[in-house]
Subunit: 389 residues, 2 copies
């Protein structure tokens, strides 16, 4: 199979190396950045890829512009497409699926969610004969690395982030990681594959910007640590829910044992029960390995991971499937105001003017809304799901 690659950075170079090591594949053209062409097979002009005789293009550039323009042109030119670009698929996956269907070529994106972890392909296989009750997990290595370092090594947030950058886990601009947006994009991909619904922006995303050493200290006193988790699922009435938020989890929960930049993707099938997949969620060779598995899938004839039925839909985070307790830390005055909307089950401790409490069960929507209200008044608040605390 003749293959071209868009991008020669961390992932693109790994894909190129793995294709060299596997027989049956010839790399035609590799699109590199201006001034980085060092080999004959490289080009700095996208048009060279468009007119070459490759049957399959692998996009490893990242970002939406010009990735969307380039990938849609490749599909229009009758080339199959593999991408590891979650921002691209979250923003334009349905557009790309439609072009690919019209042209009769493949559009596959396993590596865009979970890195080496084959969660999307396994969900796609499972949903054909089982009902997926919910799916999600720890889907961002950078934030997990930061949370794990803060808890296990007592590192400050800023030092942990700097270390994550040094190790190549975090981007130069880590806003999408820290804010939970990267996790949400992966949840969007999961939701498209599992439910044929791309959740629109009526969902709740809480990242890890607010977490502090004191939160870990109090969580530890409860036998817990803190992780960032994204989830989506269907309520009993068939409505989609989708959200991202920190979770205070005990040793009995699988999240607890996910360390460093490891990811954990899970789903519960009505028949299969809880299924968990752990592995490297990012990095050159793990991501390249997922892309190479997709190359095999394309070679074997897989056309799509998305159904033509896939549509944008509203996520509703106020169903009973979205109800749980929360661990909350804020100042005494804000906690008092919060308590008028969300009942406190118990105060865990008070120190330095801060109150740490466990709420009664509320919906995700109500908790995220209440926290936004506290912040609108200029106060700080940290909250995390606390199912077992």
């Amino acid at each position: 199979m003749k293959v071209s690659i868009l991008g020669h950075g961390v992932v693109g170079k790994g894909v190129w190396e793995m294709l060299q090591a596997n027989s049956g594949y010839t790399v035609r053209t590799v699109l590199v950045k201006k001034g980085e062409k060092t080999e004959d097979f490289m080009t700095e002009s996208f048009d060279d890829v468009l007119v070459d005789d490759s049957e399959l293009v692998i996009e490893c550039m990242g970002g939406i512009d010009p990735a969307f323009e380039f990938t849609s042109k490749c599909l229009e030119a009758g080339k199959s497409l593999i991408t590891s670009n979650k921002a691209l698929v979250a923003a334009h996956g349905i557009d790309l699926m439609n072009i690919a269907n019209r042209k009769g070529v493949s559009f596959i994106f396993s590596a865009a969610c979970g890195g080496a972890i084959p969660i999307l392909q396994n969900l796609l296989r499972a949903r054909k004969t089982d009902s997926i009750i919910w799916a999600g997990g720890i889907l961002n290595g950078t934030t997990n690395f930061i949370l794990d370092s803060m808890d296990c090594k007592g590192t400050s947030f800023d030092d942990a982030l700097a270390e994550a950058k040094r190790l190549g886990y975090a981007e130069a601009n880590p806003t999408a990681d820290i804010s939970g947006m990267d996790t949400m994009r992966k949840v969007m991909l999961i939701s498209m594959v599992a439910y044929d619904i791309l959740p629109n922006f009526d969902y709740n995303i809480e990242g890890i910007e607010s977490v502090s050493a004191a939160d870990f200290e109090v969580a530890r006193s409860l036998g817990c640590t803190i992780r960032l988790v994204g989830k989506c699922g269907l309520s009993d009435s068939g409505r989609l829910y989708a959200y991202v938020e920190p979770v205070v989890c005990s040793m009995a929960e699988a999240y607890y044992s996910i360390h460093s930049n490891t990811n954990l993707a899970q789903y519960t099938g009505k028949n299969a029960g809880l299924m968990s997949f752990m592995g490297q969620g990012a990095g050159r060779y793990p991501t390249a390995s997922a892309i190479l598995r997709d190359v095999t899938s394309v070679a074997e004839g897989q056309k799509q991971m998305l159904s033509p039925k896939c549509l944008v839909g509203f996520a509703c985070n106020s169903s009973k499937e979205c109800e749980h307790k929360y661990f909350v830390r804020t100042d005494a005055e804000s906690m008092k105001a919060l308590s008028s909307k969300i009942e406190t089950e118990k105060v865990v401790c008070e120190k330095d003017g801060l109150v740490f409490a466990i709420t009664k069960a509320v919906t995700v929507k109500d908790m995220h809304d209440a926290a936004a209200e506290v912040r609108r008044k200029g106060a700080n608040i940290f909250f995390a799901a606390a199912k077992e605390a």
Copy 2:
């Protein structure tokens, strides 16, 4: 697709129910035990299945005789075959693969290893473009249930086994589970799929017959618990190794957090890194869900999980990849004799005439051979891999 089912027990009935719930499949004939025919679609005579117009037969009888006769006849009659029967595939997988290839039909057996966990299909996909360094894990729910109950609840071996039987995890005759043979059969399937080699009987199998409450007590004092693990892999020189043995594992290891009858299947890919899959390793609906995923695969055209190159091969458990420390418990005299062959690194404790020690690193073959020697002299010994103890 027209489907017939051999067997209407725990798994067969689950498959039947799931096929009813999915459109696109019609169940033609279900083979039941003598005296159990209660519906028109059931038969007590295998010949009725052989002559019906089903394109696919799902074998859920268990055992080798008459399962091998029935399944090979179905393949010869041009019907595709799905089975969850690990004993059948370990004993006759290569024979069945050859018949299926000759007749151009499918032979798929995901559910025979790991229950709901899709380890075999994911290994098959991964190995096409990555090198599988090793694969294995906690592959038997009955033994994990017993070990977990002994550690977490202080249950005796016999009570835990009785409870496992009551809950339907253990067979009336649990010898294959307890001896490690069931785990080894699953390792054999993994080895066939990952390496095209069916390990012959020159391997080392240690089950959980020798484990005692005292072993858990001492393991706990080291911050560890005990699990039963099966593994296979390739040495640097390309030789296969394959073995089953208890493992003393610390909280830092994934094995530690596998409770009750959950299974954990893992592999390390040269590029993907360590990949872990957790889920229900047995039970009606988990196993049926894996079979239904295979039904989709057959419907989509998958023919084989085994390569025509797959052959019986010798497993060699004396390579450096098979070297690690061991936790050993035996009487003082036997420990002295053992120490002449396997160096002791430290004695953990001595009580009631028993010595608990950690050895220096030795090969799996040397440790299993030395333990067999102790037993030949009529003494008791328990040993478990202890990489981090």
